[in-house]
């Protein structure tokens, strides 16, 4: 490789993706999810038979259109799984470890929400109850960050 570099004046050529940005639409039930989050202290799930899907999938496994059902964020949710993050994307050590968790409102659902949990690493465990800390209504934008984080229920 080094030999080749010496032999050739231009072994490599730079390139940059010209796309300025991507704009992603939320989709059918996705729109309901963010509307509900913005306007109420709740989200929605897609209901297929007795099963709830979060985030809402719009379509059911049998290809029918699912029903939109509201799931409150005011009740306690549970930690289904979690990870503790010590470094950022570039490998720099974080000042304070961050906890990312898969959060579910009840047992019989498929999926859940991935979000931050405000807790100390030694406090965290699967099965603990948590509650959503929401931004004040007037500051919500219809984004997942309208939930600031989840916190442990004492």
């Amino acid at each position: 490789m080094s030999m080749w570099r010496k032999k050739c004046t231009t072994p490599e050529y730079p390139g940059k993706m010209e796309t300025e940005k991507y704009v992603y639409t939320p989709g059918l039930h996705g729109l309901e999810f963010f509307k509900t989050l913005k306007e109420k202290d709740a989200i929605v799930a897609t209901k297929c038979g007795e099963t709830l899907y979060i985030p809402p999938t719009t379509l059911c496994p049998d290809f029918s259109k699912g029903e939109v059902v509201e799931v409150p964020l005011t009740n306690p949710w549970y930690i289904a799984s979690y990870t503790i993050v010590y470094e950022d994307m570039d490998g720099n050590k974080l000042d304070k470890p961050q906890i990312l968790a898969l959060l579910v409102p009840e047992e019989d659902i498929v999926g859940g929400i991935i979000h931050y949990v405000k807790a100390e690493p030694e406090e965290i465990d699967v099965g603990l109850m948590v509650k959503a800390k929401l931004k004040p209504r007037e500051k919500r934008e219809g984004k997942i960050t309208d939930i600031e984080y989840f916190e442990l229920v004492a």
Binding site: G15, T19, V23, T25, L59
Partner: protein, 392 residues
């Protein structure tokens, strides 16, 4: 002529479905795929549980802005826990989808295939054009700052020069296709326009004006393919896949004669041979040649051997390719009229031949009786031809 190939099972198309084709849609890519797939299943009176295998087609990931697009589209395409494959040959993908679905069934591997094509071009900003920059060679082409329209314009200019066609002669195709699309329930760019309107529209890269070009679109399309015994059970009017063909040429597009698409001819010859068609210009009743630009339809009519070289534009002027003509082409309205969500547009063309051969195209139904139809797509760096021949 006898077909040249042994197939285990004869294959038919038994259902087709489309979403609207529009510049921007609320639905996510997977929801678009699902809407089209559901339409196709309903049209065949089938349910997802009746489907054995899934084929997905979608053009560059960079449009939707989602990598592993095949996997991303899997649930919306009904592929959960089923054998699934995504095929991709640029703009040729749309017709590659039923080709791949055909070999799944013809080989005896699957009894039924749901074939879904989806494209969502609206996410890429400021314009999907920018994303196309990455199809060129990074060393000898991209430093010149090419726009996708350049290569089409260069090819169109060459065709005009070699074949003696004028801008007016070529604009006739845009007028025809946009008018044909007036009766299409999914159409994005249907319009009653004149040749003058085309010539007076904004010049982008001369000789290409805005109305010479199909729009960018979001949309999805789906087909159901089935083995003969199942096809006969679910419908009285299965549409048989008689022949398939596809070939590629080199990406070095400026190292070859652009006036004639050799690779389309080779793909067509492969499909015709399989279908036992010896004189396509006489035996084919109806065609959906790929028309992202108006001249491309003429170019492809010649590549498909439906007209002698350099004669397609003369025949177009005489109304030969009109819906009431001897060999109607793009009766759907094509990409110019219905829209161009890349892979989905190719499937839309196959779906149109399907409806026409079943006499189900309603207001778009061509006047003449139809027995054999051909649909074709084209793509990458002016190098791919994909062809299917259908019969009723």
């Amino acid at each position: 002529m006898k077909p040249n190939i042994h197939v285990k099972d004869k294959v038919a198309i038994v259902g087709a479905g489309l979403t609207l084709f529009r510049r921007r849609m609320l639905e996510t890519s997977r929801e678009l795929a699902w809407e089209a797939a559901r339409e196709a299943l309903e049209s065949a009176n089938l349910e997802l549980k009746d489907i054995d295998c899934i084929v997905i087609g979608s053009a560059p990931d960079a449009f939707d802005g989602v990598h592993l697009k095949g996997e991303y589209l899997a649930d919306g395409s009904g592929a959960i826990s089923k054998p699934m494959v995504r095929v991709y040959v640029g703009g040729g993908t749309g017709v590659m989808v039923p080709i791949a679905a055909w070999w799944h069934v013809a080989s005896g591997l699957c009894r039924t295939v749901l074939a879904v094509a989806e494209e969502k071009m609206s996410p890429a900003h400021p314009h999907p054009q920018g994303v196309f920059a990455y199809i060129w060679d990074p060393v000898v082409e991209r430093p010149l700052g090419p726009n996708l329209l350049w290569i089409f314009a260069l090819e169109m200019r060459r065709y005009m020069h070699v074949c003696g066609a004028s801008k007016e002669d070529i604009a006739i195709v845009s007028v025809k296709n946009k008018a044909n699309a007036l009766n299409h329930p999914c159409a994005q760019a249907a319009a009653k326009i004149t040749v003058e309107d085309v010539l007076n529209s904004e010049v982008l890269v001369w000789p290409v004006h805005r109305l010479d070009v199909s729009p960018v679109s979001d949309g999805a399309a789906a087909l159901i393919l089935a083995r003969e015994d199942i096809a006969r059970k679910v419908t009285d009017t299965p549409i048989w896949v008689e022949g398939i063909g596809w070939t590629l040429d080199t990406t070095h597009w400026y190292n070859r004669e652009l006036a004639y698409p050799r690779y389309v001819e080779y793909a067509a010859r492969m499909a015709y041979k399989m279908a036992g068609i010896e004189r396509p210009w006489k035996e084919i009743d109806i065609a959906e040649p790929y028309d992202p630009f108006d001249y491309k339809e003429l170019h492809h009519i010649e590549g498909l051997m439906l007209a002698p070289r350099c004669q397609a534009w003369r025949l177009a002027r005489e109304g030969y390719f009109d819906r009431t003509g001897e060999l109607p082409t793009s009766p759907s309205g094509g990409l110019l009229g219905v829209g161009n969500p890349i892979a989905a547009a190719g499937v839309m063309k196959v779906a149109e031949i399907f409806w026409q051969l079943r006499y189900e195209a309603g207001e778009r139904q061509v006047k003449k009786p139809v027995h054999y139809g051909v649909a074709q797509a084209w793509g990458d760096l002016m190098q791919v031809g994909t062809v299917v021949v259908l019969s009723n």
